[in-house]
């Protein structure tokens, strides 16, 4: 049994070590020169996010002024940004989409877009998050892919986090109760 426990612990260690956060941004070749940035201003100060950075720290409230650009103007283009939760199984993709654009002809030959977005109020109740956001932009002239690690500064003892803590304790107790011996007649 000791050998079995050691094997399980070893497998767990391998899983944890190989899944350490890998921070990176635009994946080469970024042939059409995609770039994005945002400035979030809120109660906790000002947070700068750039697609060349390793890690994006996002506060739980504020107003985000964002900007996206490409050095090569693309036509008939489209793109999407999603949270990579590892829930892609072949053709089935359960990763939640954050936003998408296109398909657009881009008849005006635009090479940049910008806007301001308020962080929704419900975000204040979310727990701290460390997730990978991925995205792509693709047109007739080329494609770019990128990803960034997002460190969301949530509440460790907010309503959602407390629910997770409670569920962890409850399931741990259930797991312990499964290990209790019972008589088999």
């Amino acid at each position: 049994m000791r050998r079995r426990i050691a094997m399980v612990a070893g497998a767990a260690a391998v899983v944890l070590v190989t899944s350490a956060p890998a921070y990176a941004t635009m994946e080469p070749p970024n042939a059409i020169g995609c770039h994005g940035s945002a400035t979030i201003t809120g109660e906790d100060g000002t947070f700068e996010i750039d697609s060349d950075d390793d890690l994006a720290v996002i506060p739980s409230s504020g107003s985000a002024a964002w900007e996206g650009s490409i050095t090569t103007v693309t036509h008939d283009h489209a793109g999407e940004v999603w949270a990579d939760l590892g829930l892609e199984f072949g053709p089935i993709d359960l990763n939640p989409s954050i936003g998408s654009w296109g398909e657009s002809e881009n008849a005006k030959d635009e090479s940049m877009s910008s806007g301001v977005k308020e962080i929704p109020s419900f975000v204040k109740n979310l727990p701290p998050l460390l997730i990978t956001i991925r995205g792509f932009h693709e047109g007739d002239e080329g494609r770019c892919d990128g990803f960034v690690a997002v460190d969301f500064d949530g509440k460790l003892f907010g309503p959602v986090a407390l629910g997770v803590h409670g569920a962890t304790i409850l399931t741990a107790l259930m797991l312990a109760s499964a290990a209790r011996a019972r008589k088999v007649l």
């Binding site: 899944s19 590892g86 990978t132 962890t168 797991l175 290990a179």
Partner: protein
């Protein structure tokens, strides 16, 4: 004697999922395939194993009583008088 492997599988699956969320909230892991798929599966298997093993609440069984000594042999029949 054995435990509850089915309960262990279900509890392990959800414990792995919530443990993954805890590790993510404490910034140990990025929420991804490890925390949403691998950890739950790992703890589901672990739950089945400890459910079958059932290490908790076992009573130390007393030593089995010694078998009773063999019955003494029946007394030998008296020799018959030979004519």
């Amino acid at each position: 004697m054995r435990g509850h492997p089915v309960r262990g599988a279900i509890a392990g699956l959800f414990f792995g999922l919530f443990l993954g969320l805890e590790l993510m909230m404490f910034k140990v892991l990025t929420l991804g395939r490890t925390s949403t798929v691998f950890l739950p599966l790992l703890f589901m298997v672990l739950g089945i194993v400890i459910g079958l093993w059932a290490p908790l609440g076992r009573r130390r069984t007393a030593a089995a009583p010694l078998p009773p000594p063999p019955a003494p042999p029946p007394p030998a029949a008296p020799p018959a008088d030979g004519g």
